[in-house]
Symmetry: C2
Amino acid sequence: MKMDKLVGERFKEKPADCVIDSHALMIRGGYMKGVANGIYSSFMPLRRITRKIENIIREEMDAIDGQEVQFPVVMPASLWNESGRYESIGSELCRFKDRNDVPMVLGMTHEEAAVHLVKEYANSYSRYPFMVYQIQTKFRDEGRPRAGLIRVREFTMKDAYSFHTSQEDLERYYKICYDSYNRIFSRCGIPEVISVKSDSGMMGGNVSHEYMLLTPIGEDSIAICTECDYRANMEAAESIINNTAEGEDEPLEIVYTPNIHTIEDICSFLNTSLEESCKAVVYQKNKDDKYVIVFIRGDLDVNETKLTNYLKEEIHPGEITDDSGIYAGFIGPYGIDREKYTVLFDKSLKGSHNLSCGANKPEYHYKGLKISRDIGEVEYVELAKIKEGGICPNCGKSSIRLSRGIEVGNIFQLGTKYTKSMNMQYLDSEGNLQYPIMGCYGIGVGRLAASVCEAHHDDYGPIWPISIAPWQVQLSCLRSDDENCKKVSDTLYNSMLNNNIEVIYDDRNIRPGAMFSDADLLGVPIRVIVSPRNLNDGVCEIVSRDKSVNEKVPVDEVMNFTENLIKDMFEKINK
Amino acid sequence: MKMDKLVGERFKEKPADCVIDSHALMIRGGYMKGVANGIYSSFMPLRRITRKIENIIREEMDAIDGQEVQFPVVMPASLWNESGRYESIGSELCRFKDRNDVPMVLGMTHEEAAVHLVKEYANSYSRYPFMVYQIQTKFRDEGRPRAGLIRVREFTMKDAYSFHTSQEDLERYYKICYDSYNRIFSRCGIPEVISVKSDSGMMGGNVSHEYMLLTPIGEDSIAICTECDYRANMEAAESIINNTAEGEDEPLEIVYTPNIHTIEDICSFLNTSLEESCKAVVYQKNKDDKYVIVFIRGDLDVNETKLTNYLKEEIHPGEITDDSGIYAGFIGPYGIDREKYTVLFDKSLKGSHNLSCGANKPEYHYKGLKISRDIGEVEYVELAKIKEGGICPNCGKSSIRLSRGIEVGNIFQLGTKYTKSMNMQYLDSEGNLQYPIMGCYGIGVGRLAASVCEAHHDDYGPIWPISIAPWQVQLSCLRSDDENCKKVSDTLYNSMLNNNIEVIYDDRNIRPGAMFSDADLLGVPIRVIVSPRNLNDGVCEIVSRDKSVNEKVPVDEVMNFTENLIKDMFEKINK
């Protein structure tokens, strides 16, 4: 490929609407162009990167006995009605009617399509286990697309679905897939990706892992133990609080607290700590707007995913109206109507005493609350967000750190959610009908490309690993108007093409500075520079984009040197 | 791959709803499964075939300097408003609103997206010419999906767009693309595909070609000259009629023709030929239901595409109502209200005389009509379908044959339709703003797969060419319960895997008949059969799916023989 023919513009300035580096660099480098909110077209360099990522994924999926199939982008709503997801998923599922008024959806994942495809085939235990996968365009109508390819509406995703006759077999294969994912991320140049336990949310099932690239610009929060190997996303991380109830029990006492509304204010007014307070957090059910009141220790926050999972329905932050019967800032567990409202107690309150809390009438709070004494037996539910410095659920030390990350892949143990709802069954060896157990495994291709860029770039552009770089070599002819310089460059270009080296050749008649900044933006790992000055010494300059290599190499050894450097780079990445 | 792990069922019986062989065989062979009307999921064998086709196309597009890009499946309607296609395309364009009520469309082709992507980049003549292409899922909401993968609603298509600064340069590149397409079809195993001139319809532009696989099950009609190399689809084939007006002019005379309605009946009543009659064909404009009356020689039919293109609007067959002012069976050009109706004369009437035709009142016809004498000067328009045995527009002989074909690809000279409407301009070498000239080039991947199957199959299954076959070798162990037979088969399987031969291994403990019929349905070009009987003679049987090879080969030469056979097959196809 010649640089002067490469379609796409490169820009010096960071575009105003780019908040993260990978987004800015991929716009500046002519990798992609926005077509609509969260919808992009890719230029050749990005398409080459995503194709290489797709091929790495394909090789690794084939290596664990995956069978590549293809599901449709457009599916009939009836298929999604079978699983119940047509109803249960919100407006991120794109729904429309075809010319015959048949309701259709755009696929955001393909569990239903996978079950539909294999349902009749997999009617006997002898046909298990198996895994099918596809690499296909998906559409998820995100409310807030952001950060370039990190959160888009249209994206290419590898989605895989495995089918098993026992939980043990699923777990065996899940482990194989887990390792396969680590290989994929290593081969794409980001071995630093970590796996974390996650909440599987609307996907159903129980055990699941997310693969996270830790970076401050990530939109997910992860709890990581500094003392053991515990790692979980915020939704899955159990918040452990050991209340010791030190000191004497105080009596329950009502206190006049004019103009005091927040839990911080009441604690400072009563001269107690947040740990000795009971805060109310109010939600409403989406279905009927009924109130859900969560009581939680004053220093903690409610994890809404945990709450949604516990309630098994969608909620939104509560709006406290005049006729609600509750008073914002004065809600407490003592005397609240537990028939009228859904009242939940977070585990952080268990074993505590001498709590301050709202008194359910304006301008008043209680102090000295002890739930077991004053309210009686209540069920404690795990609803709190884990805190920085919190207790590790694995090793028990107060060693939790919170980090941010980009989710570059995920694996789920789905269980029988889809096979049951879609009535997929097989005959076991005893002739009984059973529901197969599923696993599913996803990787977003574009997001992975952006994550690699996020992890490996400098101020001047991405530093692509050789395995997914748009080209392996950038050949720069610094003076195309110099006959010898041009001749040597042309010869090298043709040798590289003949030796199947992926080369992009820049022989434009422009300043070296402009040529190098374009090359930096393309992020090609090896740069071969031909200049009249070096040719006077019979050499070319070979530098790597990551600056680890910078050599002057005799002209007739350039090909050999380059080929070996490519090999070294691949070996390093596949090590 | 082992056959007992291949997901997908194979069936003995032809499915009731399959009208063409490729559809029936691809369902019977476990290649695909219908998800909705015109929407399919692919199993592994079909996905392997389409991937190979995609790679052949990709190689050929890259070889003619194509740059692979990717456009979105989902696009904002605003982009399609720019070109005018949002309005001009009917219900085959899938329209919907996203969560924010923004109107969106599903891409059926990507001219708009291509212009959008390159618009800013290609602002100077020095950046031309270039071509971008993608291989991507498309959705066209066909009214009547049919024939399996031949006419579907969702499909994978390679679509390419080239941009030029002159018509000459477009024509130069068009020719390059034309040749590239011939190579693609040859490499996919159907060199018999022919190119025909076509009407470019809603795509805009003028010159275009369709690539046709001739087959009776094709849904397109093609006019082929048996005397020269003229080939055109029915929409593009000019119908040439040389009227000689033999004999004396007769006077115009009204005739009472009770109960006579059809043109055949009136000719037989008046004892004249169809060639001496003038038939009326009535349409209505979709827009306002206004009548369009086409007069045409009685032995010919109206080509509705030609009519639509001439009118530049959509029409439908006319329904003649009581208050229409015209009388079905009695409509004629003499005395008809040419203000009230759009009246058109086909070229087939030019130079004729002594015509019989309707008299525009019930129960009456005229005979002896001579248009130039009785009606005066009229414009003759080319609206007729070319006939079997008709005159070739190229060599002038009466040597036209009509054939049916499947369109497997097309190439268009688009002109400036999209660049003008979307205001894409560049500065020419004199500093003037100009609109670039576009070409576009499509191939449907799934339809191509089905066409190859249509061209190459027998009653038992497809006969895949080596270049796109799901596997190269089918290894059949006829007696997996025989220790030696199993051992030899296993060894061969591993050798083939180690030598990168794409092999599917059938060691199921089933009858040879069942094993062979499954193999026939998979259509793998080379079959290596290991049986105890042949092993007694120290040989394996190697047969090709197309029956041209049938050899007994010593066991230790099987690998060598197979590798050579694969090489031969590839050479034959790439010759």
